[in-house]
Amino acid sequence: MSIVLSEEQVDFQKTVRAFLEAKITEDLVRRVAAEEVSTDEPLWESFAELELHGLGIPEEHGGAGGSWVELGLVLEEMGAVLVPVPYFATTVLAGQALAAFAPDGQIEEWLERIRKGELVATLALPGRDGWDDDAISVSAGSTAGAWRLRGRLDRVIDASSAELILTVAGTPDGPRLFAVESAHDGVVTTPRMTLDPTRKMASVEFSDAPAIRLGEGAADRKDLERIVDLATVGLAAEQLGAARRCLETAVEYAKERFQHGQAIGSFQAIKHRCADIFLAIEAARSCVYHALALAAADDPDLGRAASVAKAAASDAVNAAATGSVQIHGGIGFSWEHPAHLYLKRAKSSGILLGTATDHRERLSRCLTTH
């Protein structure tokens, strides 16, 4: 497979970039960030113009088609502007999870509604212990073929705006994936204060909430791991975009800000810090694009590439966001300047789905006999 973008893909990325930059202003991001629930109806609906809602979901399952490479490029651009709508939760997390299971009538209907932008959905992500039996806080029981969930999820991305919540729950046969409609009485979502105001999270309490089990049989565990690997690659692509924007902003500022009678960007201390951020981004870009190509090709080695990409992109966005604050000086520490929004996003995405260190440990387990 090739990590080299085709001309069509390069054009597509440019189109998406121009589209998002025209629609998403800092004011919009800040307005949504200040609210408890993250969404903006006109923006969300406008994604239909580029058929973004169902991207990366196969057409035969009700999606809009397009490969993981296109989806990754969209996520990169969304990361760059801190998209304040539940796209990652809906299209990447829930969309990919639903599409991973041989979709029946109900799942296809959900996927169709996702494609049309009519359904906001999410998936509860595993913590750092993954979906080990001990780490699963929700249990599922069935009577006469009807499943009900009990338990609590501490933090689920965009759960407050989601009509459909997917979660793993323990069953007597091991962990399985379930779908719950949040409108049911047995579901209570409570918005939580978040480190990153542009990535909303809520706790979810299930009290005998009616649920639909997705998929059958023993292959589920592998499917779950694959869903997490895909989400990890998607998040890495988003980090890449955020990192790029942080560097662009810092470089622009370094050209305009004068001290000692010169643009601070002419000082090597600033130049070399910017160059270091660029290097981290370019290294991450190579790893992320490679992982996207493996995702698009349904390659069995995705797990390793996903860890490489997430570790590299987490390091890059951390260097870029912290570097941007430093290069901006005092204004970079202020509430008024957007640098902190990116730093908070860098932190949240650096922790979600495993830190860079977690992924290095995972790689170490894959690559060595210990």
């Binding site: 600033i270 910017c274 660029f278 490679h290 080695d301 490489v308």
Partner: protein, 424 residues
């Protein structure tokens, strides 16, 4: 087992984009056949040869490459090449790496990888016909006369002068850090031909024969006590009036074009070497039980991540080259990534070796800079020498600091740093 899976880097075994892989399959088979037929049956690596027999083996091997058309394959056939595509060239690099076969001699590196492509780009028809076939055949060995005692990072500040006199250039000055000057027949050099203009505008790219009374070569030993570097003293040295590559006083643009050729295949070559070296380090770590230490495990994983970034970055650069995009500043990115990585990974290697690094023994590294050769057998001395050799990577061919300036100014568009006005 674990290090075996490392080299594949996912399901792709070739660094080439899929579309190009197929068109080069025929040539790949040809290269494999050549290697099977010509390498000894029990072949391990150049590093496994006895040090005394290595030079002779290498000369014989090079002759075989020439005989079978396995060197400079992407050069046009009228100039001694095989007229093959860049993709085919990458296939050759990959297959040679897989078989642990050398692609050229140390003394060839500059001519084969840098000077040749530059001659193809800016040379006259006569220069192409005369010089290129002799690089391919190994008849002419070249060294690079760039650095001077007073002109390192400030390369355009070279003071060696050349003056036209009776239809000959007469050259006076001193070059330093000249790799392989003691084995070279020719030097390509950046010299000052006009002092009345700004420093970049008065430089000429001259081709100078080494075998003449006006040239004296003195060895410099590196910190491994290896001899590959030299000082070259030019005292009324001479070369023909037409031994100029590019225009007279147009040497700076030739020299910078030449640096751009570091990109295409050098990045692929480096990635293959670094992958092989890291595999060897994983094997050493496993054998010593070092991977049981989670800190070492995480550092090895980080090394793996960095090599992946370098390898996939090489593919991106290659794709740009295959699309005909001119070499850009990405060679600076590659240079910093690999050279700084290489210092970190060799440091890790010495930590894994532990006390054994204190008393290096066994065979020495078969190279002077960068990694030891592909599939080099384990020896503590090789790792220690490679650690020291890695110090040079961030200095030669543009220091890390200069490369960062290039990225900041040419990629990010930051303003040039204030430069002091030269005293006149």
């Amino acid at each position: 087992m674990p290090h075996d899976s490392l080299i594949k880097g996912g399901a792709e075994e070739s660094l080439l984009p899929a579309a190009l892989r197929e068109s080069s399959e025929g040539f790949r088979r040809q290269v494999r056949e050549f290697l099977e037929e010509n390498l000894p049956a029990d072949w391990v690596s150049v590093g496994a040869l006895d040090e005394a027999e290595r030079p002779q083996w290498m000369e014989q091997w090079r002759n075989k490459l020439v005989e079978h058309g396995m060197i400079c394959v992407a050069w046009p056939s009228e100039y001694g090449g095989q007229g093959r595509s860049l993709a085919d060239h990458v296939v050759l690099l990959e297959e040679f790496a897989r078989a642990a076969a050398p692609t050229s001699l140390t003394v060839d590196t500059l001519a084969v990888n840098l000077l040749g492509p530059t001659i193809l780009e800016v040379g006259t028809e006569e220069q192409k016909r005369e010089l290129l076939p002799r690089i391919v055949s190994g008849e002419d060995r070249w060294c690079q006369g760039y650095s001077e005692p007073g002109a390192g990072s400030d390369l355009a500040g070279v003071q060696t002068t050349a003056t036209l006199k009776d239809g000959k250039w007469v050259i006076n000055g001193q070059k330093i850090w000249t790799t392989s000057a003691h084995e070279a027949d020719w030097m390509f050099a950046l010299v000052r031909t006009d002092r009345s203009v700004s420093k970049h505008a008065g430089l000429t790219f001259l081709l100078i024969p080494m075998d003449q009374p006006g040239i004296e070569v003195r060895p410099i030993l590196d910190m491994n006590q290896h001899h590959h570097l030299n000082e070259v003293f030019l005292t009324d040295a001479e070369t023909d009036a037409d031994s100029v590559l590019g225009e007279v006083n147009g040497g700076w643009s030739v020299a910078t074009a030449l640096l751009g050729y570091e990109r295409n295949d050098a990045a692929v070559r480096d990635a293959l070497n670094l992958r092989n070296e890291l595999e060897r380090l994983f094997a050493v770590a496993e054998e010593r039980g070092a991977t049981a230490d989670p800190v070492i495990g995480v550092r090895l994983a980080q090394a793996y991540i960095e090599v992946e970034a370098i390898a996939h970055g090489a593919v991106r650069g290659l794709a740009a080259a295959l699309r005909g995009q001119p070499p850009g500043p990405e060679s600076s990115v590659h240079k910093i990534l690999w050279s700084e990585y290489h210092q970190r990974v060799t440091e890790l290697a010495l930590e894994i070796l532990g006390d054994d690094a204190l008393t290096p023994d066994g065979r020495g590294s078969a190279t002077h800079v960068n990694t030891d050769v592909t599939n080099a057998p384990y020896s503590s001395r090789s790792w220690v020498e490679t650690y020291f050799a890695a110090r040079s990577g961030t200095i030669y061919a543009g220091t890390s600091e200069i490369q960062r300036n290039i990225i900041a100014e040419r990629v990010l568009g930051l303003p040039r740093s204030p430069r002091p006005v030269p005293k006149t």
